[in-house]
Subunit: 344 residues, 4 copies
């Protein structure tokens, strides 16, 4: 089959013929990829930022945001059948460790992460397992929703945590209305009564934020922390939801945070670097956020089916993966990039 | 009356005659101080570290950990009577703002903090209000429990938060078994089924930790993070409860924290300085902790009355406040220092 | 002033001149009533159903859903000023007991309930205290929102509890789309992503439910439990929110409840009468709901100001209180009845 | 192998030779039974009370509280090996439905319940699956802990729910200090700071309660509700934990419940039958409790290994199963009855 593999850090991906994945365990599922989302993490992987954390052996196939149709199943798979439309949770988990048993499968002690630690979905076929496939309405098109498998799921997961502190009259400040941010805004709108304030330097992104449900948008022009403080009688917001995590976002964000408030870290790049005296005297919290659980993905698919979460995408043929990555890197990509193999 | 006042940052306190506080509002309560705890924060106040945060005008009376007997009450006070033994919550709160109405009176929008922002309890009499006095069994001696009003309350409050993530088989690592730490250990023992692991450089402190309920004690000798990781199959602990917050404690503590775990910040001094990629990839949290609420103090008094929390103290006459502060500063103070005015 | 008093159970109210309430304590507040909601509980009071529970002495003024303008304040009141527009929380609470300190002021150990246990708001003036008045935007008209003070607040409070079990894809079944129910539906819409299914016998009420945000409405024609089971693959709904509590609603409602689901009791009349073997084998819960807290009322006022919760009302002059009660009793009252004194 | 089967409701069990269970699916696990707890539910099964709920076909093997050693494993089992000592979670669950994915495997949509709905552990061998076996320290003896698999797990699960409302100063009233109750008391002691009050008619049971950690024991002599009200200033207890559920326990228990308190239903027999006006005016809750999850069982095993939970047992040879059932039925059984097959 055709796949896009990384052979060497910093090099372009090689689009090449490789062997098809095989069913080797009773819960294995092979998915014919209908759409594979392209993510800023793919650029970070290419740059080698995840080399140590993932321990992956090169070459391997990138692509961790996948949807498609079930192509083949192992002997013990009961929850999907060949032909079913599915979105693929990014992790392959064991179902037996404490975390899996607690509904926190993201922290499975025996997980693999296709596209990060083993072969992913920039290919015609992807190997995953029964625990990772969410069955969808057959009328849904995999390429329309693939990017929700990781980017969307991460945004949803963070918002679900933040929802527990958001009541009518509280404020959620979203930093960054890009790929994840505009999904996060839709999730906030669907799941909380909070006033949604969105900060972004781009007028285009702010317009998208307003369409997505922002009550107020604020330009990130260096005065945004003061603006938020003014809007909140000098007290700041109950929740800061940071999809950027670099270029000064954190320092600004902490300045906007209310006493006893929580700062949700999603975007990454810089350090959280805050004096402990501020953390204790203001009694503020920093909450890390990784991708969501399988049930989170299933819930997000419900919001999508209900029309409460939609996604802007631009499709590329799988062969054009390096063009897509360049477009993403250089800010030319409108919405979320989706790679589509010819066979699909 | 006699009181110990700070006239100039970095100077010793002046023990001097000042005017007695007066009832001026219907909910005012004046307490005859039976014991006033001495806290490391008093040293920080003397050094001027809180000057900007508190905005206090010098000279003023220090002392924010107070217990005693009700001396005089305002016209609308119904919950205590003259002569009642009371411990005094460190904040004077309004009871009308959202935070007060939510049980989170520590974040009252109109609070004062006697001993930090207005006159405190290093004196014969202390002015507070009806919302701040917890009535105690008359057999309790104020000087035995005064230090629970702030130090103990802070430890209790942090443990109560941590309790929500501690289940049988989980590990709570306590960094620092000093004044707050050894109360925290007793609270952990009383309120959670977690295995309690305590780290401290001092053999004396570790012995106190073991008496207080630690299941395991570990010397802080530079290898403690590795020790904890070994004890947890390389995974780290579910909760790190840091009563130190300086001298490298944080870097060590973060290294011991399990995926999806929470780091409770109580001690202060250094910065939390952690790459966001670690925060998100490990999905860890940092939870700020200030002093507890009035109900927290009431609950802690129950644990004390039940004998589940006890405190080591060393009493000093109020006149010896500067000796006591020097002893604290130079590590000569055994247990918690308590100042006792002659009149009491 | 003019007031409507109950002199004898089962008799009509007497509209008569009585003495004005006086400020007697520093936190007292006297409100000029702009609108007083009429509630089915007023009929139950008249019938004597609350006589034992309230211990009230006749005669007294009914009316427990009040809004208006501040007329006079005690010496220690700081949160409102004369002339402010306010809605009045139905309970007068102490602010000092554990429940008040925990944000659960409804369970205040020293509360009074104007209109139930002391004189209420079917009058020109109402005596309450500083802890019970929520300051509103001066453009709001008391008679438009008075009924939210109790009926709305009860609905909001129950929905806030239910929200914690409602995720995208879950179902909330609302039994009864009357006065409370249609507010509950709006709150569900504003605060949760659940699918909202509303059951009512009246076509008119179902139409109102649909306008209020119901996703599906079902006629209460005796087959409603089967209908809900069909809609949920035979499993039932995660939350049943029962605003009726009589005429068979409970038996039906329990039949629609999913394993591990929760049944929110708001309407009252019949008994919960369920075999314990069903409660344990299905692991279901019954959650009692009284009126909400002060903060709940403040949050509901935010939803109202945001246009997310609106109320249908019919105004009557205070003098026509007995006509209004008859209209309510005999089902002629459209929306919520509001009594308005001439002076207001 | 030898097994004890029910051929006809109301008849004694037949101890007879039957075919050994076989591995038929990749996650199957066959356990050599080292001890099988006898439970009042076995009597109820024999009487046919569960016939409709379980839909089981007679004859079948009873026994739903099992521990032993792994005898054989399916091809995909990775979490245990042949020879491992294990306790067996009572349900065989799918790991794929939403409930399993949420950590609530007890509400698995595809579960079986060996001993209730399929062959159980009153036999030499028991078939279960990889998701149901908790690996134990090899020094533990299955017959000592088997009864924790269901009775203990149910008690633990209820206490874990109740723990969330129990703070220092709160009261937990345990009704019934029998098989489940005395485990519940130990769990309360290990996991909460509540004052533990235990009600039982038997002096022997009250003595066991006191040994297990009860702070106060009260005879169930008809005045127990008044006694509890006296002990709580007329207000009642925050949590009632009812292990009886019949013979008037419920009416008494509800009378002892504080406003806003919760009633945990574990024992079964009678109905919960309470006027809705009481449920709403007191804002009380009824919480159903079934057996705990796999993680709950694992946590309970930790408490057992730590010596915080111990169990009184009386062993019987499997052949004497009908004697054991008669002893249980007629109150002659001391502690929990455990059946032990010769081969084990």
């Amino acid at each position: 089959m055709i796949a896009a593999r990384l052979h060497k850090y910093h090099d372009p991906l090689a689009v090449e013929q490789i062997a098809e994945p095989q069913i080797t365990a009773p819960h294995d599922v092979i998915v014919r990829v209908g759409g594979a989302g392209l993510c800023r993490t793919d650029l970070h992987v290419q740059e080698g930022q995840w080399a140590d954390k993932s321990g992956v052996q090169l070459p391997y196939v990138l692509g961790h945001e996948n949807a498609g149709w079930v192509h083949e199943i192992g002997s013990a798979v009961t929850n999907v059948a060949v032909g079913d439309t599915v979105i693929v949770h990014p992790l392959v988990t064991c179902g037996l460790c404490r975390a899996c048993r607690a509904g926190d499968d993201v922290h499975c002690e025996n997980s693999e992460f296709p596209g990060i630690s083993v072969d992913g979905g920039f290919a015609e076929l992807l190997k995953t397992n029964a625990r990772s496939v969410v069955k969808l309405d057959p009328t849904l098109h995999p390429q329309d929703i693939a990017a929700l498998a990781d980017a969307g799921l991460t945004a949803y997961h963070a918002i679900k945590k933040a929802a527990s502190v958001l009541y009518p009259g509280s404020r959620a400040v979203v930093i960054g209305a890009g790929g994840l941010g505009h999904i996060g805004i839709q999730c906030l709108k669907a799941m909380t009564p909070a006033e949604i304030i969105v900060i972004d330097p781009s007028e285009h992104a702010r317009a998208l934020a307003a369409e997505s449900g922002a009550d107020v948008t604020v330009a990130a022009d260096g005065t945004q922390a003061d603006t938020i403080l003014e809007m909140t009688d000098g007290k700041g917001a109950e929740a800061i939801i940071d999809f950027v995590g670099e270029r000064g976002a954190i320092q600004d964000g902490v300045a906007m945070l209310r006493e006893a408030g929580s700062y949700y870290v999603i975007g990454y790049g810089e350090n959280i670097n805050v004096p402990t005296i501020d953390i204790i005297s203001r009694e503020i919290n920093f909450i890390g956020n990784l991708v969501g659980s399988y049930n989170d993905l299933s819930e997000l698919m419900t919001l999508t089916a209900q029309g409460k979460v939609t996604l802007h995408t631009s499709a590329y043929p799988l062969e054009a993966v390096n063009d897509a990555m360049a477009d993403l890197d250089q800010g030319r990509l409108q919405g979320r990039g989706i790679l589509v193999a010819d066979a699909a």
